[in-house]
Amino acid sequence: MTTNGIIQIALYMAVLLALVKPLGAYMARVYQGQPIRLDRVLGPLERLIYRGCRVKPEQEMDWKVYTLSMLAFSILGIVSLYALLRVQGMLPLNPQGMGAVPPDLAFNTAVSFTTNTNWQNYSGETTLSHLTQMVGMTVHNFVSAATGMAILVAFIRGLVRHNARAIGNFWVDLTRSVLYILLPLSLILAMVLVTQGVVQTLGPYKSVALLQPTKDANGQMVTQQVLAMGPVASQVAIKHVGTNGGGFFNANAAHPFENPTPLTDLLLILAETLIPAALTYTFGKMVGDTRQGWTILAAMMVVLAIFALATYAAESAGNPRLVALGVDQAGSNINPGGNMEGKEVRFGVARSSLFAVGTTATSTGAVDSMHDSYTPLGGLSILILMQFSETILGGVGSGLYGMLIFVIVAVFLAGLMVGRTPEYLGKKIEAYEMKMASLIVLLMPLIVLGLTAVAVVTKAGVSSIANPGAHGFSEILYAYTSQGNNNGSAFAGLNGNTTFYNVTGALAMLVGRFWLAIPALAIAGSLAAKKTVPAGPGTLPTNTPLFAGLLVAVVVIVGALTFFPALALGPIVEHLMMGSM
């Protein structure tokens, strides 16, 4: 590790924390329907949308209607995106003449983008038309993110309201999330990205002369190269702002047209962590005690910082096998040092590690380096970040409502220890809430461990593995962890584009998204109906460092207890074997 590397990580954290309050306060105003400056510009558009869709914005829904609306919207998204992928060959804006996407891949991709996962079993530049990238991918990048934010806001309303049935209007929350939060932020980011060299065009791919002509496998001279292009900047912006992560290109943020400079790299990491972090402040603001939000953010940031440093340490330590071969892996002014396999030289070890941590801590899943090539401990750390059920920042909206479920579990344990039946923000946590929270906690072992178990003993599962042994196991575990948590990053090294992985992966993504969202909304409905118990000295304080520590402990212990055996057979044993030979 170098001082420079640590400063870069610290700088990122400082900028992020500085942005939390302003954006968080702004979002609270958006969701509470308070006046904001953008009203004047976008207000008429918002009202037009409601009129066009026959939405009565003042009509609020109970949790069941809210859930059904959310589900209906998501299913509509899956079906329409599937259709688009299948018929893109017949539609305009297709300069490269891309054909129909095969059914299983189209299904996986449709599910992937509507669940805010953005797992990609395809290469964008060789599969999708410009129209699909814009109307399909980019649109879903917006609305899937907005769906997560809407669910969160409904959840918060459940905590805030008492003796109430309604938890908001899904269509309003969805529309306002897109119009007032995601669109402006993406617009700003896209503009900045373009200045740094991210491409934005509707034209065809370009052929350019190679600076250094080379010979192909047949001995033919190659002097020309085809550069894939398209409406990249607009998609990349929302891909990070909305913690989506589905790249325009297969190489994702490692591609120079998506992420050309160290500055864009920093902006992308910031963009993907910005809304999840700021939403904690929005939460605090809406529940009337910003310390509640800061406490949760503190818990998240502590874990994030520890894992960022751990990953960076693991990657800069390099590979002991190469040391044995006399390879110099020490960092210097001209050499970032450490394990540079699969990393871009323009980013180096520190930034790649930070990016990997940011993208797995949030459910973004964009990559600027190949996770498969990380050291076992580096890979372990980003794998675990996802296995914390995407609660360390997590996806926009979904990360925080996932974390709030863990808060409920922590409150339940701690509440008992102070001699009261547990309550959170004045709401009693009873059997119904525990039932729903338990369902959510059960999600991880069922889909991630369950599907991994199926894959490692079936031919269809094992045949996709590129690296046999413990690393192959890690690859499969990573694939289901990523999809089951709606992250979407890939360890690579595993051929995911097979019927088996397309279907089981889609299953994992669907279950991962809705098995969390539906019980969370059910809890919101139940909490909203309860009365609020005023806090006193006998109530468990949930806005203290102690509680933040307890929350971290619950998240870590639940994750560790669920995954320790699997991790022991994957990255942990890989690491031990690498060192011992």
Partner: protein, 688 residues
């Protein structure tokens, strides 16, 4: 009464508990507790695997499988034992109670008159509404309401209090309990409970835990524990395919055996809390019984931990039952001695506590000895509701003491004056929370006696303690607001309700509840019944009326007004014990992973031996040690489960820090040490 606390491990209870632990192995019973049921299934499965191993079809060495199986059976037995121990303590009490429920004959009357025709019927045939006659020396055959007569009744069978109590028709002392004995006189009683529903029956079933239903929080916790168990079930089930893949990949060793997976599952599942959960609940009820309180449901005990407002009656709870004279304040031209003398004379024959306190004050402050009224030839004029005065006629003096207005009328009628200075004193005393008594000799007003409510010693500290626990105390009194405010300030309560009527009390409870607070109160009179029914935790005095007892959800056999505070602590203790053991149970798992995982994959991935940080001797000893620790910790924690985690009156944050440190961090560290020690012992005894 205070029953002597039974020792934690009573030999008779112990013996019976061991037997009960075996009986409880019945799967139909076990299935009620999913965590322990799963352990029992595991025990049976490993037993089957052992038999298979003996027949040569084993997947693991027979001896190892047997050892695991045995310890799994022990785990189940230990948990059952804990529950049986907790129940045993209640059963012992129930046994004593049952002895009092003898099948006596009752004299049933055809009409509610003493001279009505009567016939003898067995008590078991008495129904609600029947009227019976009970004479001196007879047992009261069932719960009822006295409709005629006054008698002294020995209620020691129920309350343990040996002094007899008076039961009479009308008023707040009309309830009688079956199983108690009339000592003198006779009572005509209308039966109010059918057989099997009497207070005694309910008490027996409560202490036995026979009708025990899971309380709401217990249900919520059970759900969490079941979820954890399913998680670990998934972890262990998927570990088999994982190990098949790994064994193939490394080309070493064989997939992990089912025996090891079962052992791992039992170690990980929250067996510590799962095994002790019902014992904790029963023990909580038992602690309440030890405090001489009978709760009508477990739900009420749980709610007691959540109470945030206590409504306390002023008299008897906050102040001593009666007022005492503390000062003589003479009128302008009267010597204080003259006032004291007159006051004492007026009070000599007054047997009320107030009267006696005046005599004592005169003696202590002014050296006036008590005199014999009769020797002085005085005639006592008792207090009546009409005159609102009492006093003596002596020689030609007519000394009177009474409320200011009453004396004013009296003096004016005699042509005297009521001095302005006395009037001011009267108001001043009222304002300070005292009760003024004015003394007059004929037409002349001598001065004022200050009577004061005496706040119980130590009660202020108690309220301060409650405040740190987050509980508001509200004093309820019939006094006027001025007096009430002064006493409230002196006792340090947070709020008070003056000139309280039953309706005002009910209204106050509703108001607090609307604000989301849980309210507890005690009451005894029939007019308390609506408020008792409304309160979340309602403690009825055993001396109270039947209506009050039925409206409340607890009955305090001691009829002690301060019992409420103790009940709240017992409720909190119950919840804390659950939380502490759950945390402990989950924290334990970390160490167990470090014991079992390297052992389970020692052959497949020898490199995983690095995780064996406890340096356990062999894979078999490691797994066995973890299983043994898991079983023994249940036994080790039985005393804690029965006694409960100690509650301290400190703010929640402090309590949390302390308990996380002890049960969270402790739970993390203890098993590392425990498993290592067991491993060393196994090696020392050459058992591996």
């Amino acid at each position: 009464m205070t029953t002597k606390a039974r020792p934690l491990f009573d030999a008779a209870i112990l013996k019976r508990a061991i037997l009960d632990a075996m009986v409880k192995l019945d799967p139909r019973y076990m299935v009620r507790n999913p965590v322990m049921f799963m352990v029992e299934v595991g025990a049976a499965l490993t037993l089957y695997l052992f038999v298979a191993a003996l027949l040569g079809k084993g997947e693991a060495p027979a001896g190892f499988t047997l050892a695991i199986s045995l310890w799994l059976w022990f785990t189940v037995l230990f948990a059952n034992f804990a529950e049986a121990m907790a129940e045993g303590r209640g059963k012992a009490q129930a046994e004593t109670l049952r002895k009092t429920r003898r099948d006596v004959n009752a004299r049933q009357l055809s009409a509610p008159r003493r001279d009505a025709k009567s016939q003898m019927v067995p008590a078991s045939q008495l129904r609600k509404g029947h009227v019976i006659l009970v004479e001196a020396g007879e047992f009261i055959p069932g719960d009822g309401e006295v409709i005629e007569g006054v008698a002294s009744v020995d209620e020691s069978a129920i309350t343990g209090e040996s002094a007899p109590v008076i039961r009479e028709s009308g008023g707040d002392r009309s309830a009688v309990t079956g199983g108690t004995r009339v000592l003198s006189d006779w009572l005509i009683v209308r039966i109010t409970a059918d057989p099997g529903e009497s207070f005694l029956d309910r008490m027996i079933s409560m202490v036995e835990g026979a009708k025990r239903q899971k309380t709401p929080n217990e249900i919520a916790l059970s759900i969490l524990l079941a979820a954890l168990t399913i998680i670990f079930l998934m972890v262990c089930v998927t570990l088999l395919p994982f190990s098949i893949y790994s064994a193939n990949a490394s080309g070493l060793g064989r997939p992990v055996s089912v025996t090891v997976l079962v052992a791992l599952l039992v170690c990980l599942a929250p067996t510590t809390i799962g095994g002790l959960l019902s014992a904790i609940g029963i023990a909580g009820m038992d602690r309440l019984i030890q405090a001489n309180v009978i709760a009508m449901s477990g739900r009420a005990v749980e709610a007691a931990g959540d109470v945030d407002v206590l409504l306390l009656d002023k008299t008897g709870t906050i102040t001593l039952g009666n007022r005492q004279a503390t000062e003589f304040i003479p009128a302008g031209n009267v010597a204080v001695e003259a006032l004291a003398d007159a006051a004492q004379l007026a009070s000599l024959a007054d047997e009320t506590p107030e009267g006696r306190s005046i005599v004592i004050l005169a003696k202590e402050k002014h050296g006036l000895r008590g005199r014999d009224v009769r020797a002085l030839g005085a005639t006592f004029v008792p207090f009546t509701a009409q005159t609102r005065m009492s006093g003596v006629n002596l020689d030609h003096r007519e000394i009177r003491k009474g409320a200011a207005e009453a004396i004013q009328c009296y003096v004016r009628a005699k042509g005297g004056e009521f001095p302005e200075s006395v009037q001011r004193q009267v108001q001043e005393i009222s304002r300070q929370g005292g009760t003024p008594l004015v003394v007059a000799d004929g037409a002349k007003v001598l001065g004022v006696i200050r009577l004061k409510d005496i706040v119980k010693g130590g009660i202020k500290e108690r309220f301060a303690e409650l405040r740190t626990m987050g509980i508001r105390t509200v004093m309820v009194t019939g006094d006027n607001p001025l007096t009430a405010a002064a006493i409230a300030a002196e006792a340090g309560v947070d709020d008070f309700l003056a000139e309280a009527t039953p309706e005002a009390k009910l209204e106050l409870i509703r108001k607090y509840q609307a604000g989301g607070r849980l309210v507890a109160m005690t009451g005894d009179g029939t007019n308390d019944a609506p408020a008792l029914a409304q309160a979340d935790v309602a403690v009825a005095m055993n001396t109270g009326t039947q209506a009050a007892k039925e409206a409340g959800n607890m009955v305090d056999l001691d009829s002690s007004p301060t019992k409420l505070i103790q009940i709240v602590e017992i409720g909190k203790q119950l919840l804390m014990t659950r939380g502490a053991l759950t945390t402990f149970s989950i924290s334990n798992d970390i160490a167990k992973y470090f014991a079992v995982i390297p052992a389970a994959f020692a052959a497949t991935y020898p490199a995983l031996g690095a995780l064996n940080i406890m340096r356990l001797a062999t894979p078999a000893s490691a797994i066995l040690s973890a299983v043994i620790f898991n079983a023994l910790i249940i036994i080790a924690l039985i005393p804690l489960a029965l006694r409960g985690v100690r509650y301290r009156a400190v703010p929640a944050a402090q309590l949390l820090r302390r308990n996380i440190l002890i049960y969270g961090l402790g739970g993390l560290i203890v098993p590392f040490i425990g498993i290592k020690i067991i491993d060393l012992l196994l090696v020392a005894m050459h058992l591996t």
